[in-house]
């Protein structure tokens, strides 16, 4: 039998190619098989005639079994599927079942439960599913039991309708007619019922696999606010979102990406709030994706982002339903990807890195203070080590006398130039951080001890690095934790600026800074300027940037997102004190 070289036998996609050739190929395959059978018969015949059949018995047996095996592959269901044709199911249950067996050959997790419907009618039927992806209880109680203990009449079409209407106690049932659909549904974790004399299969949705329960995510921890986080199952995730926004205008459009993984993806947005052009653009970009596998939303992010060569992310992500809901209500679009709790959100603006969901749950004054602190920390964590290098090696006059004295005292006798020292400490810090993330929890504390002792204490005592440098790197590290969304950008920018400061002092820092800002201003995320509402300035949107206005004052959604329905609330929401008439 010839295999089709042009299409993938596991998942055929090039139907245009296959359709033209399939008939020929099918015939070729049959012919080849027939020839092989003929060769085998002749061989066996010759062996008998020669009287040596006892000798050849074993090899003949093997050959016969191989031929029998091949016969499976001649199953029309399998052949059409392998050749990538949208082939209808066969009327014979056995053909369908054998076809599926051939398609799922060597898939030990496939279960095909063959049985007969009814005690008297004895209609052959089969239930196909993948073990571990279906809910066993539901299969046994809601599907098999009613199917086996119900009486049917002889009419097959009637039987199917009867089963659908009266027998299966499953919420979601649909009819499918093609082999490909059957395969997809089986892989999606549904149970397929195939009945003899019917070319329609019934899909019962009984998905039920082991999954993590909804728990508080490690990222985006809050003191006040909902603690639930997304899980790895897309339906659970969309349900978590739906529970927040109980409105039919919350649209959750489904599609599949990944030729091998067939990963489910959902685009969620709120019709009437979102700028439709953003949704269109997102769909266009998602449609363009042709990749074999999507294992995490990072794959999608890489494939749809505006500035793939930029350090700065132009697609946001979150692990929390309340955060995603808030973004949708501002007019953003979310992308759920099956298999990951991280949901993507576009458009993503620079200022979003400084906004945390808890900001909107706490009172505005402290929040505003924290916002300033975040901006300050971002600035510090990017520039501080570079500034230290620049000032101590080029611009000593900028330091106050007392500070210069103590720094000079500490640097006395350290072997490396300041820039090397800064880079070294920075890299050691990154190593420690990465080690802390990757290590198993029980070993994690060892890292912090070694880090604190060796780097903090011993290195200074041994005179390898100056104490101020340790202080600077430590302060920088802590500052960078305030803006987790930009921590990767931060680390890279920091190292870049340290190098520039080492080469050309504060001039280098300013140069690097200007280049960075120019670059940031040139970015766009799904048509929205990345630095907005700062550049271009949008005064109305500034109420949620450096200052978080109280909710009664944040009447409009961010205008830069171009939504259709800018008003969030009615005017005059500011609470008034009840005047006492006495």
């Amino acid at each position: 039998m010839t295999t089709n070289n042009h299409s993938d036998p596991l998942y055929p996609d090039h139907e245009w190619l296959a359709t033209n050739k399939s008939a020929v190929q099918q015939l070729n395959a049959l012919l080849e098989y027939a020839q092989q059978v003929e060769v085998f018969s002749k061989k066996a015949d010759a062996a008998f005639r020669a009287g040596q059949w006892l000798k050849m018995l074993n090899s003949l047996k093997e050959e016969y079994q191989a031929l029998e095996q091949q016969q499976y592959l001649l199953n029309p269901v399998y052949l059409t599927y392998a050749n990538g044709i949208k082939q209808a199911l066969s009327k014979e249950a056995a053909v369908n079942v054998n076809g599926l067996k051939a398609i799922f050959a060597q898939c030990s997790d496939l279960i095909i439960r063959e049985f007969n419907l009814g005690a008297t009618e004895q209609i052959p039927a089969a239930l196909v599913m993948i073990e571990g992806m279906v809910d066993r209880g539901a299969i046994n109680e809601s599907i098999l039991k009613p199917l086996l203990f119900t009486k049917y009449n002889g009419d097959i079409n009637g039987t199917l309708a009867f089963i659908k209407a009266n027998v299966l106690s499953v919420a979601n049932i649909k009819e499918i007619r093609t082999v490909r659909e059957v395969v997809d549904e089986v892989l999606a974790g549904n149970a397929i019922l195939i009945i003899d004399k019917s070319d329609i299969a019934l899909v019962s949705e009984v998905k039920g696999w082991e999954s993590r329960s909804v728990e508080e995510p490690d990222t985006e921890a809050v003191v006040r606010g909902p603690r639930e986080g997304f899980v790895e199952t897309i339906r659970t995730n969309t349900a978590l979102l739906r529970r927040k926004i109980k409105n039919p205008n919350l649209k959750i459009e489904a599609l599949k990406v990944g030729e091998k993984t067939q990963t489910a993806i959902c685009i969620a947005y709120i019709k009437g709030i979102v700028d439709e052009r953003i949704v269109q653009e997102l769909k266009k970009r998602l449609d363009k994706i042709e990749i074999d596998a999507v294992l995490e939303s990072g794959y999608i992010e890489n494939l749809i982002e505006d500035a793939p060569f930029s350090l700065f992310p132009t697609v946001g992500n979150s692990e929390k339903p309340d955060n995603v809901s808030a973004k949708l209500l501002e007019g953003r679009v979310a992308v759920f990807v099956d298999g990951t709790p991280f949901v993507l959100m576009v458009p993503y603006l620079f200022v979003e890195a400084f906004q945390v969901s808890e900001d909107y749950y706490s009172r505005p004054y402290y929040t505003t203070f924290i916002r300033w602190l975040r901006w300050f920390a971002f600035f510090t964590s990017t520039v501080l080590p570079a500034l230290y290098v620049a000032i101590t090696t080029y611009h000593q006059e900028l330091l106050p006398q007392a500070l210069l004295t103590s720094i000079a005292t500490a640097q006395e006798g350290t072997p490396f130039p300041a820039v090397v020292e800064a880079l070294l400490m920075q890299i050691i810090y990154e190593i420690l951080r990465e080690a802390g993330v990757r290590l198993p929890r029980p070993v994690g504390s060892a890292v912090s001890i070694v880090g604190a002792l060796v780097i903090g204490e011993a290195a200074v005592t041994a005179g390898l690095v100056g104490a101020p440098m340790v202080v600077i790197v430590g302060g920088t590290a802590i500052s960078s934790f305030l803006i987790p969304a930009l921590s990767d950008v931060n680390a890279l920018l920091r190292i870049m600026l340290i190098i520039m400061a080492g080469f050309s002092g504060i001039y280098g820092i300013i140069l690097g800074f200007i280049l960075t800002i120019i670059h940031q201003c040139s970015l766009r995320s799904f048509g929205v300027p990345y630095m907005s509402p700062l550049a271009p300035i949008n005064v109305s949107d500034l109420k949620d940037v450096f200052v978080r206005f109280p909710w009664w004052a944040m009447r409009t959604r961010p205008r830069v997102l171009g939504g259709q329905n800018p008003l969030r609330e009615k005017a005059g929401q500011k609470p008034k004190a009840q005047t006492n008439n006495n």
Binding site: A467, G505, Y507
Partner: protein, 392 residues
């Protein structure tokens, strides 16, 4: 295709940014941080500079080390300042960095010969700060730089602190390099620099040499010509409106043997020029406000009459100081430390054209008409001494 052409352009732009930048990278442990400079002349007529250089202890943490001086002192000789500074590296092994130099002390002897050449390089060199403090040593500058300080581990910082603290008495001025150069540039005004001298002090029972600020050196152009004592210096500062604080001590109105301290809270001066019959009259209004700070007499001073009397005495005290300054500057030194020339220039530019050339002859003849307004605002928390009689 256009991208392929763009890449070299971008590379060129990026590389060109590396053409500029901050030049002269110097690690902290490769420089000697100069804290103070003393300038003298050798008998051979060469310049001798004494440097006070920070000595960072390698022990880490500036606090330990106890009574050790945190500096070391080195001297170097050369033909010019630049030459001398460069020569200093022959001993130190570290390049001297003067961006943090606090004080420049100039020897009295050199000052009499003129100090403009020093001021010139200190201004020209980018490292020197314009606000570095200037002092004239009574004697050799080297001694001042080598002297110890009772409190500070860096004696130069001690001198700088001394200047700030002493300035609060308004008995000596505080003069920075910039101030001096500015006055020098006016050609007719006489610059002044506080003097500093080495005296005996005691630390831990051992006699050591310490410095103290004393008197004020007056210059004619850039040459030292004489000294003002504390009283004269205060008188000069009154006229310049630079008195900020201090005390005026007067006799108690009720008991002439006892003293009363009157604290100066704020003061200002206003100078106007009048020419009558070719006689230049400077009309100076000095406004002063102050409090009663202490009194030694056992009488109640808290009556309007006595307050007025105290004000009158304070006015007389100020007038006395101003007159002493005028006498010294006009008659003895013929140095316009009061910047009267500049005032004439400002108020009467036409007249100044003629006067400018012969200001040295005109200045001693200038008449000063003083108007002193004093006020005694508060007498403190205490109404009268415990032993004083209560008024009916």
């Amino acid at each position: 295709m256009w991208q392929r052409r763009l890449i070299p352009v971008i590379i060129c732009i990026l590389l060109s940014t590396m053409l500029t930048g901050c030049w002269n990278r110097k690690e902290l442990n490769a420089i000697g941080i100069v804290q103070g400079i003393g300038i003298d002349k050798t008998p051979e007529g060469q310049i001798r500079i004494t440097f006070q250089v920070l000595k960072p202890s390698s022990k880490g943490g500036g606090k330990e080390g106890g009574s050790d001086k945190a500096v070391w002192v080195t001297t170097s000789v050369g033909a010019t300042i630049q030459d001398t500074v460069r020569n200093a590296t022959k001993q130190s092994g570290r390049k001297f960095y003067v961006g943090h130099c606090k004080v420049i002390v100039i020897g009295e002897e050199v000052s009499r010969e003129g100090i403009e050449q020093f001021v010139e390089i200190f201004q020209r060199d980018h490292e020197f700060r314009p606000d570095v403090l200037l002092f004239i040593a009574r004697g050799k500058a080297q001694d001042v730089i080598e002297a110890d300080n009772l409190q500070e581990k860096v004696p130069a910082s001690g001198i700088a602190n001394l200047a700030t603290a002493t300035f609060a008495t308004s008995n000596v001025p505080k003069v920075t390099l910039h101030d001096f150069a500015k006055t020098l540039a006016s050609k007719t005004s006489a610059p002044f620099i506080p003097g500093i001298e080495v005296v005996e002090g005691k630390k831990d029972g051992k006699p050591i040499k310490v410095v103290q600020i004393d008197n004020t050196a007056v210059f004619k152009q850039d040459k030292l010509i004489g000294w003002l004592n504390k009283k004269e210096a205060r008188g000069m500062l009154w006229l310049l409106g630079k008195v900020k604080s201090g005390t005026v001590v007067v006799n108690s109105p009720q008991d002439e043997t006892q003293r009363v301290s009157l604290e100066i809270i704020r003061a200002a001066s206003d100078v106007d020029v009048e020419v009558i019959n070719n006689q230049i009259i400077m009309k100076v209004i000095i406004k002063e406000e102050g409090n009663l700070a202490e009194q030694a007499s056992a009488v109640n001073l808290f009556t309007p009459d006595i307050i007025h009397e105290l004000e009158a005495r304070k006015r007389a005290g100020i007038e006395d100081e101003v007159n002493a300054a005028l006498l010294k500057a006009q008659q003895e030194l013929d140095a316009d430390v009061f910047k009267f020339g500049e005032e004439v220039h400002r108020r009467n530019p036409k007249l100044w054209k003629d006067l400018k050339k012969k200001w040295d002859q005109e200045f001693p003849k200038v008449l000063v008409k003083l108007m002193i307004e004093v006020r005694l605002n508060r007498i403190g928390l205490h109404k009268r001494p415990q032993t004083a009689e209560e008024e009916g």
